[in-house]
Symmetry: C2
Subunit: 483 residues, 2 copies
């Protein structure tokens, strides 16, 4: 009891200090421990368990699209990495470099992969002969290292886990279509499994991936109004295939360079879950990817055989369909309930000696903390309902927040004010790198994306939001402070 | 047809040159591609698919034992690594060392994990307070790097994938018992899922893990008679807990160092599968971990709607229970059959226009190449039978080979002869490091293990097998040439 209450007291209210709230939440709830070196974290069972379920569900989505998993080397020889120049320039300052083995210096340096475009390029070069081999659609689950200066658990750490998909196509149109298909797949996945609404859009030239022709993104809004880029899909055109010589014989028997895409989501998603759904009691895990979906808590069960019997029976019944944990320890009820809450378990069932005499248990949902007195014969039905209802409720709350806090602004003074209010600001913008840098300096906001057609936008042209630009444009860009 | 037959022709018969046979098999069958740098390989879908199924099944075994998955950092700071001296000495020559980020030299070097004992030690130190926190039982799926001088795909590569379990206990007996429980778990898993028989035993002091008090191993016999260490489980005693200060308050409220174990299996198992079951047509994948369990091959289906209809129907029916691939391409039958064989798919169903008129299809099992004419209504039943029968047949053949080629020898001249014949030689031995080194120099054989009690052994003492030793001993050790 002592320990757990201390831990819960440690969570700073999110209204008071959001950054501190986030750190408090990730340190608790069996989520992470800090590693020995700056910016390194240990994924404890509750966070790694979420990641495993994300892997499982995404694998099932990928598999239906015929995407096959492969695994490529961790280390990239310097000579291979340097073949695509824009890519090198983008990643060079963050590359962890292996120069020695034991005390011995290596003849050639190796970089720990920050992403695997060049390794896949090498594989594709070896694997592709003719148009019959295309499209070639691979995915990899892997760890990558980017030596970031400022770090934040899940959101920006020096090593993170992700999946990176890499494809080759014979036609640019097909590749472009696939790039967009994958970003929509991610948006759907976040909606259906993580209960996170996102805005789908294209990155401005300044914000696109180093080496890509265009980058699509899904942007989510955290509870403090900041944006979190939650998944990206890149159309690489022939940038890598020309640098690496990845060719195929087309149906006229002529050699041509392939058209490529790459796309990924990472353990950042764990940060997105916390900052989209969490509250002052800790993380709230959406039911479909919760490592434990139901906590069954026996209260004072040493005194009541009936409590033990009912708990055991519910555990067996519910385990057929759900991931269930049974706590039969003799810890006190307050501790058990707090422990379940801080770990973000979507539903807990409290079984106490008095209620059980009337065949009643109490079901508590983590999102609203509502307590539902339920006859033991109705538990299964109630749980079935709650699993979907909690998901819907989490999604709808987040969607409402996103909608209410996205504003259309054409005046720069208002722009600055709304950015400061923590809004997503949707404004006319010409997309010049220089203008973006100035806006960032002046307001702290970066361009998040140019929303794709599905997103409602004004018909008429407006003056570019950047003070020193008099162009009229009908290109509208979302700006926000971002993680 | 051309391409595939060329590939099959490329497989050197195993009787002629086993090493070349192995290389030919791994290069074909959608298993690997070589990476850019020496000793690095790319896991293609057919090999990575096996590994994913091994992960899935082992996770399910682990989960029943209450083992939780976590993920720790890839990079180990030099200062942390150096705390356990025997461990450092054992791994130092193989450590890939990160010294720079971009062009900038780091203040402290980092090693890419060759194994994660020191990282877990650090986590345990932070997580454990009292005996209530014990036992603590974690597992990690990860990539590790060991800079080996000679490399061989799957068997010895500079980066490999594995799981490493790490536990802390309050009592030495409990920890020792857990060490043995895990090695038996591995032996059972290899038998039940990979159809590989193994000998369970303890490593001699010379062969034990650097930093362990004792190491248990499972040793499998490859088709050339060589041993492959296929899984290990280490009792670490208090070696790491003392070096890292991992203590707990016991029930007398006194601080004590924890007792630890660690245990792992790796992508070596893919090499074990190939060299235990493979034949001159390529890999044979045991049904329970085959990414594709059934290939349905349409023959001349463009001419026959009935072929297409039956194939589709079987695909739908069988997919409910099995991992099935349907090949409706218009490639020729010979190509399709060879392609299925070289990829090691346990069962293929050939559907041709003539047979199908009589409601007949041909089922071919990959292990014996036996062809079974089957009425389409009996396919499901036949497949159910074959999945188990192929597994049993693969296991029994391997077990028979292991039994027939393990010999008890007490005379050193005979020892040398039998080692040369590719046998596992079971001999009396005192276990002195010096003697083992000499035997290795003279015969090429290393000690594999001291088989545990379950293994039948002579009652009486014999003179140690080492020429220059006159001790009589009742400790018997298995020697063999090994990968």
């Amino acid at each position: 009891m002592q320990t757990m209450n201390k831990e819960i007291d440690k969570i700073t209210p999110l209204e008071q200090d959001f950054a501190k709230w986030y750190t408090d939440v990730v340190k608790n709830g069996n989520l992470i421990a800090y590693g020995q070196s700056k910016g390194s974290i240990i994924f404890k069972p509750n966070s790694y368990g979420i990641w495993e379920l994300i892997q499982k569900e995404l694998n099932s989505v990928f598999s239906k699209k015929g995407i096959k998993n492969v695994y490529l080397p961790l280390l990239i020889p310097e000579s291979l990495f340097k073949l695509e120049t824009e890519h090198v320039e983008g990643f060079n300052p963050e590359l962890a470099t292996v120069t020695h083995v034991g005390e011995k210096e290596l003849a050639e340096k190796f970089y720990i992969r920050p992403t695997s475009e060049v390794l896949f390029a090498d594989l594709f070069k070896k694997s592709i002969n003719s148009y019959n081999d295309l499209p070639l659609v691979y995915n990899q689950w892997a760890n990558v290292v980017r030596w970031e200066k400022t770090t934040n658990p899940f959101l920006r750490s020096r090593e993170f886990l992700w999946q990176e998909g890499h494809t080759c196509h014979s036609e640019p149109l097909e590749a472009r279509r696939f790039t967009r298909e994958m970003i929509k797949t991610y948006a759907k996945f976040l909606k259906e499994y993580l209960a996170i609404p996102t805005i789908i859009g294209k990155k401005t030239p300044k914000e696109k991936f180093a080496g890509a022709c265009s980058t699509y993104t899904i942007e989510a809004m955290m509870k403090d109004g900041k944006a979190l880029q939650s998944g990206t899909s890149h159309y690489l055109a022939q940038n890598f295939s020309k640098a690496f010589g990845i060719t195929f014989k087309n149906n006229q028997n002529t050699e041509e360079y392939v058209y490529q895409t790459s796309w990924g989501v990472s353990t950042r998603l764990l940060g997105a879950i916390i900052m989209t759904h969490g509250d002052n009691r800790g993380i709230i895990i959406p039911p479909r990817i919760a490592p434990t979906q139901i906590d069954i808590l026996e209260f004072f069960s040493k005194k009541s055989e009936k409590v033990q019997k009912i708990a055991k029976q519910l555990y067996v019944d519910l385990s057929r369909k759900y991931r269930v944990n049974l706590d039969s320890s003799d810890k006190n009820p307050g501790f058990k309930a707090s422990n379940s809450e801080i770990q973000g378990v979507p539903v807990r069932i409290e079984i106490g000696p008095r209620d059980v005499e009337n065949d009643i248990v109490t079901i508590v949902r983590r999102d609203t903390l509502e307590k539902i007195q339920t006859n033991i014969n109705d538990v299964k039905k109630t749980i079935d309902f709650l699993m979907d209802d909690i998901h819907e409720n989490l999604y709808n709350s987040a969607k409402q927040r996103l909608d209410n806090n996205t504003v259309f602004v054409t005046d720069y003074e208002e722009f600055k004010k709304e950015i400061n209010n923590g809004k997503f600001v949707y404004s006319p913008f010409c997309c010049l790198d220089y203008a973006e840098e100035r806006i960032k300096e002046e307001t702290g906001a970066s361009s998040r994306c140019i929303p794709i057609r599905e997103f409602e936008k004004p018909d008429e042209k407006h003056k570019c939001i950047f003070e020193n630009c008099d162009n009229k444009t009908n290109r509208y860009v979302i700006f926000a402070k971002a993680y």
